[in-house]
Amino acid sequence: MGDVNHDTSNAAGPPWKVLAAVGVALLALAALVYVNSRDLSAPAIAGVGPAAAQLLVAGLLALLGVVHLIQAYRQYVPVQAEIMPANSNVNTTGVLWILGGLMALMICVATGAGFVLGASSLFVATARAFGQPIGIKSTAIAFSLTLPVYLVFTKGLGLSLPTGLLERLLTV
């Protein structure tokens, strides 16, 4: 019984709660795009100005939002929503580890801790998300990847990656 429900929900796309949420988000985005377009000045001598495309896109978004809400209403079956197995098999910890790793990289770049440190923390966190415990092994692999990457791309290809204390020590 549970299997059957799962199959039909897959064939019909996302469940009604998601459709409703996406619909509301699209309407909000449409409003934002519309309000923002009102700050733009009137068109030049002939034709349309920069606001026209924004109005078109806002209209499209609003339409899509309404259609999403209609679909959500059509699929609204409170009983079925109770048995939805969607959330039971999601590995939230893994997702959070990767997002955390990206945050760590962002903090490293913003505070000037540098690319190597930031990218290594991203590496270790992602490996953790896929079941590799944080330890000497993953840290060692992380640095043996990020250090050469940094050197090759900054020295070899002349790109600029964020530098910190570690990078300055390397390049001296």
């Binding site: 796309g13 495309a53 924004q54 098999n89 590995n91 590496f123 079941g131 993953s138």
Partner: protein, 499 residues
């Protein structure tokens, strides 16, 4: 005859040692990423955009094209040996190819895929060389209204016609269109949707969006389903060579695959999934031994693989002749052109004839390289599949972050990457397609500038799009392409209720 001369001059460009090297790097890199699950060819091009910024345009674009073709070879290898298609267009290959590999016929499966792709790529490139100039002659007469209508048609076909849901496809497209609006308007210099943030004035970078949606989104999605079990890799046992019987059973599916793939790819219809699945269905219907389908029929590998490669070459027709990208990878190639200030379209054949014909000729060379390199290297590629998932995805994310930071070393860019990554994850969870969003971001601003130019010429008369016969026809086609899948869906429901 003239086409052969142009193709010949293109070969001269493509055969210079530097360009040969670029083509070689491209196909090897493409095969590598095609084989590794989690990296798509479009993602690789996105990551390479900031890195190749200072290189020679012709060489880089030849390399990008090599990645595109190499990626398809690689993903068919993964599909056959691992039953995990590296990209959607390899699903058909995975069905029969993996069965063959399990029955100890992995070698012939890989061979028919490789040789079929080579034949398809070569034939389709020659078709491209003949068709593109014809289309260019036609496109020179296009007015801005015609271009706008053509882009609307491309929007609809890419997002709605062939996807699983019209609503979700168009939604993804319109999110891309919103991102395309962000930044300074090129005509009037006014800022749109930047909310006073200086980092947004330059607009949303294609690299950041593609890397976020593809790399981060994919990694999050795989992590969310991670259960700690690795998939088994099927080793290649027995001979790599095809028997005479295999050849006999393969050549017709190859040709039929080309016949399906090239036209569908060349129409602004987008994607190689439709022709591959069509080819699979047709081969099953025509098969002498239909009972073998589902048990490892070589026709089911030969046809779809040829269709896949021919369709990929086909998408180069609208891209080069009209500047119209109809797949995520074509959109990334367009971004590659734009990075060097080159605008694909009819004029490109006049202003950068060397580049265009060099690129077209490099398809021939790239396909030959793939054939020569890949079959002997199969052992090496198989070993790549054994990389444990933690290291694989951690490495992918480090390179993703590197690519984004190389384009713009700031924390704001990373915050955008973070947002797009999470968005890509949600889109995957709820089955929204990703490619329309990328196409929307790149094609949206182009469509807007044609729209405004048309209205400027017509002195603000909006009816111009319907008065001009070409644009009116194209817009009518767009409406048809939007409604057709909805009608078919209704019909199917109707029949289902009847039965």
């Amino acid at each position: 005859m003239e086409t052969f001369n142009l193709l010949w001059s293109g070969l001269v460009v493509a055969l210079t040692p530097a360009n040969l090297l670029f083509a070689g790097i491209g196909v090897l890199l493409g095969t590598l990423v095609g084989i590794l699950p989690g990296i798509s060819p479009s993602l690789t091009v996105a990551l390479l955009l900031p890195i190749t910024f200072k290189m020679d345009p012709t060489g880089s674009i030849i390399m990008f094209a090599g990645i595109y073709f190499g990626g398809m070879y690689g993903s068919s290898t993964t599909a056959i040996l691992l039953n995990t298609p590296g990209e959607a267009a390899s699903i058909a290959t995975a069905i029969e190819g993996h069965r063959m590999a399990r029955a100890g016929r992995g070698g012939p499966a890989l061979s028919t895929a490789a040789i079929g792709s080579f034949v398809a790529g070569t034939v389709a490139t020659i078709c491209l060389a003949f068709l593109a100039p014809v289309l260019v002659d036609l496109a020179v007469k296009f007015g801005p209204w015609d271009y706008f209508a053509l882009m609307v048609l491309a929007f609809v076909t890419v997002s709605a016609t062939f996807g699983s849901s019209v609503l979700r496809g168009i939604t993804s497209l319109s999110l891309g269109l919103v991102l395309g609006l962000v930044g300074i308007d090129k005509l009037t210099g006014q800022a749109r949707l930047s909310f006073g943030m200086p980092a947004l004035l330059d607009g949303v970078s294609v690299t950041t969006l593609a890397v976020g949606l593809f790399a981060i989104g994919e990694a999050l999605h795989i992590a969310s389903r991670y259960r700690g079990v690795a998939e088994a890799v099927e080793t290649v046992r027995g001979s790599l060579w095809m028997t005479l019987d295999d050849w006999k059973r393969s050549w017709k599916p190859w040709l039929r695959g080309i016949g399906l793939g090239f036209p569908i790819g060349a129409l602004p219809a987008g994607g190689a999934e439709v022709p591959t699945l069509l080819s699979y269905t047709i081969e099953r219907k025509l098969a002498v031994k239909p009972e073998e389908f589902g048990q490892g029929a070589i026709e089911g590998v030969a046809g779809p693989e040829a269709a896949n490669n021919a369709a990929a070459t086909g998408t180069m027709v609208p891209l080069l002749a009209l500047g119209l990208p109809t797949s995520a990878t074509a959109a990334m190639l367009l971004a590659g052109f734009q990075q060097y200030g080159i605008v694909p379209g009819p004029l490109l054949f006049v202003t950068n004839a060397d580049l265009v014909w060099g690129l077209i000729a490099s398809f021939l060379i790239g396909n030959l390289m793939l054939l020569v390199l890949n079959l002997p290297l199969v052992g090496l590629w198989v070993r790549l599949l054994a990389i444990p998932q933690p290291w694989l995805y951690a490495g992918i994310l480090v390179f993703a972050a590197m690519g984004t930071l190389a384009a713009n070393p700031s924390a704001v860019e990373l915050a955008m990457l973070f947002t797009f990554g999470f968005m890509g994850y949600l889109l995957r969870c709820w089955d929204y397609p990703i490619a329309p969003m990328i196409v929307g971001l790149i094609l949206g601003p182009m469509a807007e500038s044609q729209f405004r130019r048309a209205l400027q010429i017509s002195m603000g008369d909006g009816w111009v799009f319907f008065k001009e016969p070409t644009s009116a026809c194209l817009l009518a086609l767009a409406v048809l392409a939007l409604i057709a899948p909805l009608i078919f869906k209704r019909l199917r429901q109707f029949k289902a209720e009847d039965a």
